[in-house]
């Protein structure tokens, strides 16, 4: 298919408005990484299983590896790059650092964004609820215990 099928889309990424022309088959992950230089979301399984490519669209998690970029038009997209407020880290980021919730870090952007969407929905989840919600985000390093502790700690910090 040729240029005539290009779409003009606008949306907001991490608070910044974006206007761009894309082809319908472009995946959101490739738009973020290759066109917008936001490399936080990672491609790993490429089949919606691992969650390394997780970003938030209007606050809800999607697998950007299997999500067409045009679907983001008119939405508010959050990637890991948008979580810190200048130099000030998000409580989830601080909690992951303080509790050693990461080792290689490959899964971490997706973990933190999925956890953010959970805490926005349910600020005081039980351990079972955290496990259930985070089931689709895989980590090859930590064994998950430290990740659960990080999320619990972040939930407490966010209560203030």
């Amino acid at each position: 298919m040729s240029e005539d099928h290009r779409l003009q889309i606008s949306f907001v990424v991490n608070g910044r408005p974006v206007d761009t022309e894309i082809e319908p088959h472009l995946l959101l992950l490739d738009l973020l990484r290759d066109k917008l230089a936001l490399k936080g979301a990672k491609r790993s399984c490429d089949m919606q299983v691992c969650g390394a490519c997780t970003v938030l669209v209007d606050g809800n998690p999607v697998s950007s590896c299997t999500y067409l970029a045009f679907e983001a038009r008119g939405t508010d997209v959050t990637t890991i790059e948008g979580l810190a407020d200048g130099e000030k880290l998000h409580p989830l980021m601080e909690a992951f650092i303080d509790n050693a919730g990461l080792q290689c870090g490959f899964c971490t952007p997706g973990m933190i964004l999925a956890a953010k969407s959970l805490l926005d929905l349910n600020p005081r989840p039980s351990v079972e609820e955290v496990k259930e919600y985070m089931r689709g985000n895989l980590c090859r390093c930590t064994g998950y215990k430290k990740i659960l502790e990080s999320i619990e700690d972040a939930a407490q910090r966010m209560q203030g």
Binding site: M1, L7, H25, Q48, G51, S63, L68, A114, Y133, G136
Partner: protein
């Protein structure tokens, strides 16, 4: 890698049908894309035209008619919408209970009920609860509109009665009889379920006054097991659990379930293993649905 395609965004069902009719085999309906895009990335399916039916306003509406007791789910309603709908949670708690356990949060956020049914991947959950509710689908195509039970709609792996130019528009779900309780057992170690066993029971005066049983994922398609329902209906709870007689009754019902579900040997396990699981989980589900 996804191959380029042309995107169509009809705003009415009629328009969608006419685009599908015009491009025939070169076109596909695209809803959440959680199945379709994976298959296209792998090169298993290839289309020059995708028809985004999410552009049709109102096709995702979930609505309940108090007077008929029927829940109407628009085809593009997502798993997540059903999982969190207060209406569904209150009046159709079997649906929210199962939807909460479908796939992962990201797939639930994007994947639709209509897409799940039309793809007819055997390792799926919704078919089972829809059979328990005696749900119907409505399809609209160039030949007009028709209704069909979900049971008759799904023919086998990746196969339904849907014509290429037909759109699944709504799923109609009647309420369960007053006083019913449910259990849904989802089992497996893979990404998709290896077994889904759903059961609806109504206990009256210590006997199983009514029961519905459906099984999915183990075989080619989800099935209701009416002869096992018949066999168990009227049994007293005392007869069902914990003695040799009850164990013979459950063995018999378990065999009927295996016969109806036609377990297949695949990556999820052997047919024999799945038959064994059916018997084990039947008892578990019965206990869950009949004991307070």
């Amino acid at each position: 890698m996804l191959k380029p395609f042309q995107l169509h965004e009809p705003t009415t069902v009629e328009e969608a049908i006419s685009v599908l009719g015009k491009f025939g085999d070169d076109a596909s309906v695209y809803a959440g894309g959680t199945e379709l895009l994976l298959a296209m990335k792998e090169g298993l399916l290839s289309y020059d035209h995708l028809v985004n039916i999410k552009a049709i306003p109102g096709l995702d509406v979930v609505d309940y008619d108090e007077s008929t007791g029927v829940l109407t789910v628009g085809a593009t309603a997502t798993h997540r919408a059903l999982e969190y709908s207060p209406l569904v949670g209150e009046k159709f708690s079997l649906i929210s209970d199962v939807e909460h356990r479908v796939a992962n949060v990201r797939v639930r956020n994007v994947g639709t009920l209509g897409g799940n049914l039309c793809f007819a991947e055997p390792h799926s959950d919704p078919g089972v609860f829809l059979l328990l509710y005696d749900a119907e689908v409505e399809l609209v195509g160039s030949g007009g509109a028709r209704k069909q039970s979900v049971e008759d709609f799904i023919l086998g792996p990746y196969e339904t009665t849907r014509e290429p130019d037909e759109l699944l528009t709504t799923i109609e779900v009647p309420r369960l009889p007053e006083g019913s309780r449910h259990a849904y057992i989802k089992f497996g170690y893979h990404e998709r379920p290896s077994l889904g066993l759903g059961l609806v029971a109504r206990v009256d005066n210590g006997t199983l006054a009514d029961i519905r049983i459906a099984v999915g994922s183990v075989g080619p398609k989800p099935v209701r097991v009416r002869n096992a329902e018949e066999r168990l209906r009227g049994a007293s709870l005392a007869d069902l659990f914990g003695n040799t007689q009850s164990s013979a009754l459950l063995d018999e019902a378990g065999r009927m379930m295996a016969e109806a579900a036609e377990p297949v040997t695949d990556l999820h396990g052997s047919a024999e293993y799945k038959e064994h699981l059916l018997r084990v989980f039947l008892e578990e589900a019965l206990e869950e649905a009949t004991r307070g």
